[in-house]
Every structure is written in C-alpha cells, then in structure tokens.
C-alpha cells in the first residue's frame, strides 16, 4: 500500500498536504483509487465555497462506483485541479499527484486532528 510518510490523512481516505502558506492540498489516497477502479468522472467544488469539517465536498466516480470526497477540516476552497476533470484516469495513475482541491483551513489547529501515515495504515487495516 502506497502511503507517503510526509502527508496527512483522514479515515475517509483523503490525503492532505500542508503547504508553506498554511493552505492544504487534498486528494484521494492510492488505496481509495484502487478500491474504486478506473475513474471516469470527477466533480469538483466551486472556488470560494466554505466547508465544514467532514462535509461532502466533491464526487469521484469509477465505472462501477461513486464516492464522496469530504473536507478534511473546515475551510474555504481556494483552488481546484481542472486537469483531473478532463483526465479522471490521472487519479488512478498517481493519486498523490492528481490533487482535487486546495483549502484555506478555518483554524490551523484543526490540522492536528488528521492521521499520520501510520495512523491511516492502521485505519485501513482495521476496516
């Protein structure tokens, strides 16, 4: 299972990279893309949208399944990756390169509640 040590995670299979400016970049994990299979559709949130923690933010759909992607923490959407809308398969090819959206967290302290790589692996193994 590919779980990069430098990223943070949620139990709902989002990965989170904390950027130098305090914003976060969010995608779905390699494990999530593997479960879903070939992705064929990604629906991203609108820039400027305010999200509560764990709120449904966008949808990824594979040939066989649909999955909601949740906000890892509360915040405001600051950017979306339009490239994955045109090439959903890029998430299958490299889930950690094909980010979905960036968020300005409402409260930087919330990031402490995210899982580290070991914590995420334990959550997956327990499922």
């Amino acid at each position: 299972m590919n779980i990069p040590a430098e990223l943070k995670y949620t139990a709902s299979h989002e990965w989170v990279r904390v950027e130098a400016d305090g914003s976060i970049t969010v995608g779905i994990t390699d494990h999530a893309q593997d479960l879903l299979g070939d992705l064929v559709f990604v629906e991203l949130p609108e820039v400027g949208k305010e999200l509560a923690a764990a709120q449904e933010t966008c949808v990824v759909e594979s040939v066989k399944a649909a999955a909601d992607v949740y906000a890892p923490v509360a915040g405001t959407v600051t950017a979306i990756n339009e490239a994955v809308v045109d090439a959903p398969e890029s998430v299958n090819q490299d889930a950690y390169a094909a980010w979905l959206f960036k968020l300005a967290p409402a409260n930087a302290a919330d990031l402490a509640g995210l899982l580290d790589a070991a914590g995420y692996k334990a959550a997956v193994d327990a499922a």
Binding site: A11, S12, G37, E43, E61, V63, K64, A123
Partner: protein
C-alpha cells in the same frame, strides 16, 4: 469502509439474496482468479472476480481482441424426460416449439402468474426428451424450486439435474471478442470442424465440451461448458495463447453497451417483460398457454425500454429518476461506456417518449440532459449511437 461511501452498483442487484450467508460459494476457477491477482467481490453469494486490474482495459480487449470470463456461477440444468417439451412450452414465455434443430438455443424468461419475470434464461434443444436450461447464479435456487413446483402441479415426467455437484459438475468459460473463435481453435483444434460453421445461438457437444455461440457482450465468441475437473486447464491454456481474463465489471459494461438486460436490475418478479424490452422473446401469437400469459394480455405494455446517452458530464446509474414531457421514468442500468466514452443507460420510460428526445436525469439533485436512444449502444467493436 468507514467514511467514504462506496455504492457498488454491480452487486446491488443480487446482494439481498445472499444476506446472512456465512460462506461465499466459489467456482472451480476461484484459485485461478486469485493466482492472477483478481479483485474479488461477493456477487449474489459467489466469490467472483470484478477485475484483474483495469476494468476498462478488459472491456476494450473484448471489443477489439479477445477476453474470457468465468461464468461457472451460472447454473446449467439438464431437463430430461418424455414430458420435457410440454413442460417448457408452459414454463417459458417464448415458444420452445420453434426449436427443431439439435443444439439450437433460445433466450427467454420464466414468468409468474402476474406476468413478472422469475428469471431470464437460455434454453438449448438437444433432443425431444432433453433440453438444457442456463439460469442466473443468484436466482438458481429460487428457479429450481419454481420449476419443481410447476412439474408437481402439472404432473409431468421430467428430471431436472443442475450440473453443479458430483460427476456431472461443470465449469463455464465465455471467450468473447473478434479473435475469440480463432483463439479457442488454437487451444482446441479438435473443436474447429464442429464449430466453424455453427450459426448464432447454437451449441454443440464436442467430446466432453459443450461449445455454444452465445454470449453477453455483443461480440463474436463461444461459451464453453467443460467438466469441472478440466476447467482450470482450459482456462490456463486460453491464458497462454493471450486471451485476457476479464471480470464481472467489464462483463457489466459490455452487456450494457450491447443492450442486454441484467436480471435484478432491468427486470425482476415485479416487472413485465413487455416493460423491460423483452417483448421480442415473448410469444403471444400462438395458441400455446404459458404461465403469465393471461396477465400479459390483460395488462399490455405500460412502459418503453429505451437507451439514454448523457449529454452533460456525469455518470448515469440505476434508480436515477428521468423527467420527460410524458412523465417520470427510471434508469434501470447505467454506467460509463468505455467504447463511446460517455455515460449511457437503459431506462424504463413513459409511453410516447421518442428516440431523439432530450430528457432530464436527476443526479444528486442536479437535472442533467440526456438523449433518448435505441437501447443498444455498441456491438461488434463499434458504437451504434
């Protein structure tokens, strides 16, 4: 899974049938699937491969080259005895009396008294006292009970033998695609003479194998019934000549593109075959009476079964509501079409809706535009809409 909400559309049809089951049933090829690294799922109580990697690549292999599926979970039943023709004439909505050449197959359905579909099936005529019926995996037990009850009611001398257990147990492998027949002949040269001139929807016994020109993909190919003990060797021989193993995921998108119904999604015991696009395989013209005929004649057709092509971005799925000028309808099967690279669906729509109409599909609260099409999207390697 915690958190993320997975809705596995493939399994929803039959998952109710297997709730409470402790052990999943396995086909004779289970170890072969695991050796290939297949992702396995619970399909109607069977532990089956959904894919061996990329479902889309498996789909394209069948449209462009050749792929194979383990369909051993389906249930072949030999129906033998002096009363068998009378039995099937009354049991099945299409007329088995039309089958006069040994090996000829017929697709049809068994109905209940209300005209709902108990199951769809293929019946092969082998002789006047021997037919073979192939029924769905998840409905097999129910179907066998249904057939046994009708036999008792009608007092006919017929023995039903499911080819599942014991010395008669079989495996079934569907080899499909433009190169399927050539690949099968490469592995089974002794079968070529008997099968190269076989018309569509025919089966023939070749030694221990029963080889039929049937399938569920819209491509050329064979479905091969093989003694259970020899199934894995045949599977491996096909692998060696380059036939790509394909899972139930690709099987579902291939049959959807080909406009073929899936039991439990496109029709079930509450749906008339006339409302599920199956009127072509119901014989209402002959004098023959069959279970459900009176109900079909009394109720007629209430819905049209048509295709949808999504014009906006998204993925059509079963149970999404369709709004038309004539009223509301419902998608029965929907997915992404790898051949057309758009989302397509089969849908039950109000009478009066016409091919070429634009309708709206409710996807997570948004109304997206879809084009009404024929309920066939791709066959023989080509898109048809």
């Amino acid at each position: 899974m915690p958190g993320i909400r997975f809705t596995l559309f493939l399994e929803t049809a039959l998952e109710d049938a297997c709730k409470g089951l402790i052990m999943l049933k396995t086909t004779v090829l289970n170890a072969a699937h695991r050796a290939l690294g297949a992702r396995m799922v619970d399909f109607g109580g069977w532990d089956m491969p959904v894919n061996y990697g990329s479902q889309i690549e498996e789909h394209h292999a069948v449209r462009r080259d050749c792929g194979m599926f383990d369909v051993s979970h389906m249930c072949a039943v030999d129906a033998v005895g002096p009363g068998v023709k009378t039995f099937l004439l009354r049991l099945i909505a299409n007329n088995v009396g039309k089958l006069k050449t040994p090996g000829k197959a017929l697709y049809s359905a068994m109905l209940n008294e209300a005209g709902g579909v108990v199951d769809d099936l293929i019946v092969y005529y082998l002789s006047d006292s021997h037919y073979r019926i192939v029924i769905n995996a998840g409905t097999a037990d129910k179907d066998l009970d249904w057939m046994a009850a009708r036999l008792g009611e009608w007092q006919l001398d017929v023995t039903l033998t499911p080819l599942r257990m014991g010395p008669k147990a079989v495996g079934m492998i569907a080899v499909q695609g433009p190169k399927a027949k050539a690949k099968v002949w490469e592995v089974l040269p002794e079968a070529k003479a008997a099968t190269e001139n076989l018309g569509p929807f025919f089966g023939v016994q070749v030694g221990q194998l029963f080889i039929a020109t049937t399938g569920y993909t819209g491509e050329d190919g064979f479905e091969i019934t093989v003694p259970a003990g020899k199934a894995e060797a045949l599977w491996n021989a096909l692998l060696e000549v380059g036939v790509k193993p394909c899972g139930l995921g690709a099987r579902d998108t291939l049959r959807l593109e080909a406009g073929m119904n899936l039991y439990g999604q496109d029709m079930d015991e509450t749906v008339s075959p006339l409302d599920a696009g199956l009127a072509w395989t119901v014989d209402l013209k002959s004098e023959r009476d069959f279970v459900g005929k009176a109900a079909l004649l009394a109720h007629g057709q209430k819905w049209q079964f048509l295709g949808l092509k999504l014009l906006d971005k998204g993925v059509l799925r079963a149970h999404q509501k369709v709004t038309t000028a004539q009223g509301e309808g419902e998608i029965t099967s929907g997915s992404f079409s790898p051949t057309l690279e758009v989302s397509v669906a089969l849908a039950r729509l109000p009478l009066g809706v016409a091919i070429g109409d634009t309708v709206q599909v409710d996807i997570r609260g948004k109304l997206l535009n879809a084009l009404v099409t024929k309920p066939v999207f791709a066959r023989h390697g080509k898109g048809l809409i």
